[in-house]
């Protein structure tokens, strides 16, 4: 069975996936370093180690992400949009809308029946609506991201937060805490503000069921539930693999398709 690999170099984290045929046999997620080629090398080695294969066994590999030009060892390069769409389809075969929220950006894509990307929108300029937003707020609330995610469930009256600008939202959070609002209500407000920014982006591409969420923020229950309410759609979180790996998974699958000549 053909072995392929995918490498997704992001500004915050980099991911690698090794597949044998249709099975994921090795994965890795590491924090990105200044030099994308070093990071790519490192994360790929980790994934290969986990898979128990040598690099020379890899028939083809595809790279994606912002640092992708610097990666020497890949056979081909594809856009993050295409890789995420592929990966999401593999992890959730009925996916027609993919929402990917990473550490520093947020993307929404709508797919056709075959998984081809029809339309996409990305916010990679502004922290609002990205993982960064949650990080900043969690810090002020003195919580881990995990804990922040769980707050929506226990909140009684979530506060309304400025959601357009992270800096101004920060000021809001501090204000609320000072006025005696509970951490749960403020935390839930943060998750809601996040969801509302993402919903705007998603609605821009036209939400069609099934909706799949990838990227690290998919692990935040509060945001996911708030987003479901706003979009009026159930959101499917990949179970076959960590949602953060979707890009790298997609890259590995594209690598196989190229090798088989179907792409």
């Amino acid at each position: 069975m053909m072995i392929t690999a995918g490498c997704d170099v992001g500004s915050l984290t980099s991911k690698a996936v090794v597949m044998r045929g249709n099975r994921i046999i090795g994965t890795a997620i590491i924090r990105s370093r200044t030099h994308p080629e070093k990071t790519a090398r490192q994360v790929m080695d980790q994934a290969l180690k986990m898979a128990g294969v040598d690099e020379k066994d890899v028939a083809h590999s595809v790279g994606t992400g912002y640092g992708v030009e610097k990666i020497a060892f890949v056979t081909a390069r594809h856009s993050e949009i295409a890789c995420h769409a592929r990966g999401a389809r593999f992890l959730v075969p009925t996916a027609r809308t993919v929402i990917d929220i990473g550490g520093q950006d947020c993307k929404a894509s709508r797919l056709d029946e075959n998984g081809g990307v029809l339309k996409f929108l990305a916010n990679d300029k502004c922290a609002a609506g990205t993982g960064r937003f949650l990080e900043v707020m969690a810090k002020i609330l003195n919580l881990s991201l995990d804990e922040l995610g769980k707050l929506s469930k226990i909140a009684r009256a979530p506060v309304t937060l400025a959601s357009t600008c992270t800096v101004w939202a920060q000021a809001d959070v501090i204000q609320y805490l000072n006025s005696g609002e509970t951490v749960a209500d403020v935390g839930a407000g943060v998750n809601n503000a996040m969801a509302s920014r993402v919903a705007s982006l998603a609605n821009g591409v036209g939400v069609t069921a099934d909706v799949c969420m990838t990227g690290g923020v998919a692990k935040n229950q509060g945001v996911v539930h708030a987003l479901e309410k706003l979009l009026n759609e159930r959101i499917v979180i990949p179970r076959k693999a960590d949602p953060q790996l979707a890009g790298a998974v997609g890259a590995a699958i594209l690598a196989r398709e190229i090798a088989e000549g179907s792409k």
Partner: protein
Amino acid sequence: MGKYLEEVVTAHEKGKKLCMTTFCQSPAIFWAMDVVPLLMEPMTVAGSLVRKGGANEFMDYCVEAGFTETSCSSQRGALGAYLAGLAEKPDFVVIDTPGICDTNANSFSFAAAYMKLPFYQLNYPPTLKDERAEKYHRDDYRNMIAFIEDQTGNKLDTARLAEVMTEMEKQDLLICEIQDLQRLVPSPVPVIYNFFIYGLRFTMGGRKEVTDMLEAMLAEAQKKAQEGKGAIFSGPEKARALFIYIDHYAINVPLWSLLDERGVTHLGGILDRFYQADAPYAGDDGYKISTDSLDAMIDSLAEANSRLPMVKQIRGPYDAPNMWLEEGLGLAKMYKADFCVYSGTPGCRNTWGMVKLMAADMEKAGYPTLVINADAFDDRVESWEQTRHRIEEFLEVRRLV
């Protein structure tokens, strides 16, 4: 407001046409031609004031429909509902903001193209009072009337128009009197009256209901003037604020409550100054309503329209004659303002293009000026709590109250 909304919702039932238009367009001509004017911005404000979450979902829907997110939220709030087909579909669009405000004009031309509606624009040159400009105002206004006649199949009824304009004249006088009283220190005009004045004028100007309300308001202001105690309910007047642009419309009108609470008189702003010849601040620039002939009526309407908020003073360079700086300084002086406030929206390309210059000039003239970075119609940009905090901080730091 209730009566106005009823008119809007029942227009088609009653066989009238519904015209999508903007707040700074005089509605008198529409009422006179039996057309119901559907004003986007007041509808957005209505949504902001009474719904939890305001009109935000509809603003977002505009983006979904292809509109830009950065466009002025004052139109987007109501526009979203119309683009989505959730409300009575307008029959045509008439606006007067080309030459004044791109983002406003663009919202309506987008709506017209999106919903495939007939569209007419009154277009303004960058000067107010020279002969070419005045001729342009008159030609353009007549062309608009021809358009409306074409759309409705009704000819402009001279008697009906005279009726509406006579009513408008009465209302103008009442407004001028109230605004004259406002010059007194302490001001006998309650903080919320400015909002009422422009709310009424924009939606139902020329109709009897407005005259009745204005009469009641004037009576109240006169009473307070005689008592000499000012119109702040919480206590004595401590400071006088000129809002050089618009107000802030978060839920439950908190801006006005805050002002009253802190003893700050609201001297009005750009939205409630209509430049009638009888207005204390108008000098030689005001318009006079004439009902002598059809031509005279149309001419005076054209003049009145060209002096509406924004239409008058942000059409040209801010420091040119009759424009924003001259007006701001004139009003601040006449009404004895202690400070000025700029409140607007991030969508206001026009004023954000030079508000720093304006604020610097007002400060130089001795008026502390607060520039608020919030969005008057969308509290997701900056929450009311934050905005409130900034206002209070400013009052404290500049030692105004």
